[in-house]
Amino acid sequence: MSFLDLKNVTKIYPNGTKAVHETSLSIDEGEFMVFVGPSGCGKSTLLRMVAGLEDITEGDINLDGKLMNEVDPSERDVAMVFQNYALYPHMNVYNNLAYGLKNRGIDKETIEQKVNDAAKLLQISDYLQRKPSMLSGGQRQRVAMGRAIVRNPKIFLFDEPLSNLDAKLRIQMRLEIKKLQQKVGVTSIFVTHDQVEAMTLADRLAVINNGIIEQLGTPIEIYDNPKSLFVAGFIGSPQMNFLDGNLKNKTLSAESFKIKDIISDFEGDVTLGIRPEHLSQKENGLINLKVDLVEQLGSDNLVYGQLKDKKDFCYRCPGNLIIEKGSNLSLNIENNKYYIFDKSTGKRVN
């Protein structure tokens, strides 16, 4: 049995909403797991069940070999960082960190030691006497982290802790969280709907949709080998291009081109997925793109345009290529990196 084990966990809210469907998942000690998915897919619900803040309708959650279903959140030895931080407004930073330790009956000197260590680690030593209302967003974020770290819990739970920060600070904190987690080595679950955050932080990633884990794996596995249309569309930025097509006798017809010798026995309507970065310019290529707009990011250019049948399409090329608006590009798919999905079920077929 692994460190955290979810077995067929289901959550049905009292109003009948089925937020999580029979989800099973194992997380190893020290692992950084990220739940990613669109709004309302049940990420928070799943996390809150691990914390004990929501009852489990069906299934079992085991943490460190103990069944958690009926264990009160105060006894679970988990720490959570909330989206709005939920700092204690009437206590100064020191007491915010110390409160959980005090409740465990730890003696004063040990508390002081631990709080000071955590404060140092997070560079908040200078603010220990301040109330949370006198801190900036980033500092509050650190205090919230400190409150989790100081207790040395079995598992850290993060529910979109970075979404209240501005873009720059977010990237900085993202890095710090990852470093901190590696340093402290605590098993962590991080919830986000930002796929870049998910890719950069995760040891392993669970892509959740409609209360179901669609795919579980390392970020690269999921990027390279999406198992469903949903995962393919969700992971990767800019989004994967999707074209309608038909597969018959191992030949795919889409748009105005055909691809032969496809490794799949599937026959019928399919969706062809091509990542913008898996294309390159080539004479007499498969795809003809009429350029509408070029976004220059410096290192890369994002080229937006339309195919022959007016379908929107995106191509990502190195930033040193100069591409004119209104020009016609002929593109090829690099190394056969295309993904074919069953149109009716969204399952990958190649």
């Binding site: 914390a51 803040l53 959140p73 679970r76 939920a86 204690y88 409160y99 409740n103 409150r147």
Partner: protein, 273 residues
């Protein structure tokens, strides 16, 4: 320029309002420092006389009532006990009631709350006879307990605390829980400190409410030993200057409470911002 005119105009209106409220009080105070023959001959006075100590000391220590066994000093003591008791007890009960209503999984919490709330429409005066018979049955007539308890469940204070608790984000309770706080600790470590400002406001409000009670103390006490100041206002006999002096003194405790507690009140408001 126009701003100057409008602002001086509103100041003028405020000043007139203040004068209208203050002048009668001042006249009573000024008159209470004269001798009664002076007042009887010349009417109410605008300026201070020189019988202040004489009049006020006599009022404080004079044994009044039908049986001549209660002094104003004792009445102040009684009123203070009653008002403080009502203030503290009603704040405690409504804090706890609101806590239960908001944080416990009570099935019909909203309904229960509204049932509590409509008791505002049923003031003590309406239920005074049943309340009296309960007190009589329990042998609590002529006791501080009997004076305080029947008016110490405040629907208004419960309303205020409940509305305040509802604005506290759930995450606060949740992180407190994860930090190992049980129900009682959350109440003591979080809700009470967070509602400090409101507690002080309610203490002031309920103190004045308890202090101003007239009909209930009148009914539930037969012994003069339990007379309160407000009852005394009616019962006190004596010359006009002594009554004036008594009226003046009766205003002091509520004002004092407001002055003392207001500091905390304002401090609390500013700290929270």
């Amino acid at each position: 320029m126009t701003r100057f005119i409008t602002s001086s105009f509103s100041h003028l209106i405020l000043l007139i309002g203040i004068l209208i409220m203050v002048i009668p009080v001042w006249m009573i105070f000024a008159s209470s420092t004269h001798t009664s023959s002076m007042i009887n001959m010349n009417g109410l006075q605008m300026f201070l006389g020189d019988s202040f100590y004489e009049n006020y000391l006599r009022v404080l220590l004079y044994k009044g009532g039908f049986f001549k066994e209660i002094t104003a000093l004792k009445m102040f003591f009684n009123s203070f006990i009653m008002a403080t008791g009502v203030a503290i007890l009603s704040v405690i009960t409504s804090l706890m009631a609101a806590y239960a209503l908001v944080y416990y999984r009570i099935k019909y919490a909203t309904l229960l709350f509204w049932i509590i709330f409509i008791t505002i429409l049923v003031p003590l005066e309406l239920r005074i006879f049943p309340t009296y018979s309960v007190m009589a049955e329990l042998n609590l007539v002529n006791s501080y307990f009997g004076l305080i308890v029947p008016i110490s469940a405040s629907a208004i204070a419960t309303l205020f605390f409940r509305q305040f608790y509802k604005t506290i984000p759930d995450e606060l309770l949740e992180s407190a829980k994860l930090d190992g706080a049980n129900t009682w600790r959350f109440f003591v470590d979080f809700l009470i400190p967070l509602s400090k400002t409101m507690i002080v406001a309610m203490l002031i409000f309920m103190f004045v409410f308890g202090y101003n009670q007239y009909l209930w103390p009148l009914l539930v006490t037969t012994s003069e030993q339990y007379w309160t100041v407000v009852m005394g206002l009616k019962m006190m006999s004596g010359s006009i200057v002594h009554r004036f002096a008594f009226v003046m003194m009766s205003m002091v405790p509520p004002i004092l409470i407001i002055i003392v507690l207001q500091k905390h009140f304002i401090k609390g408001v500013f700290q929270d911002k």
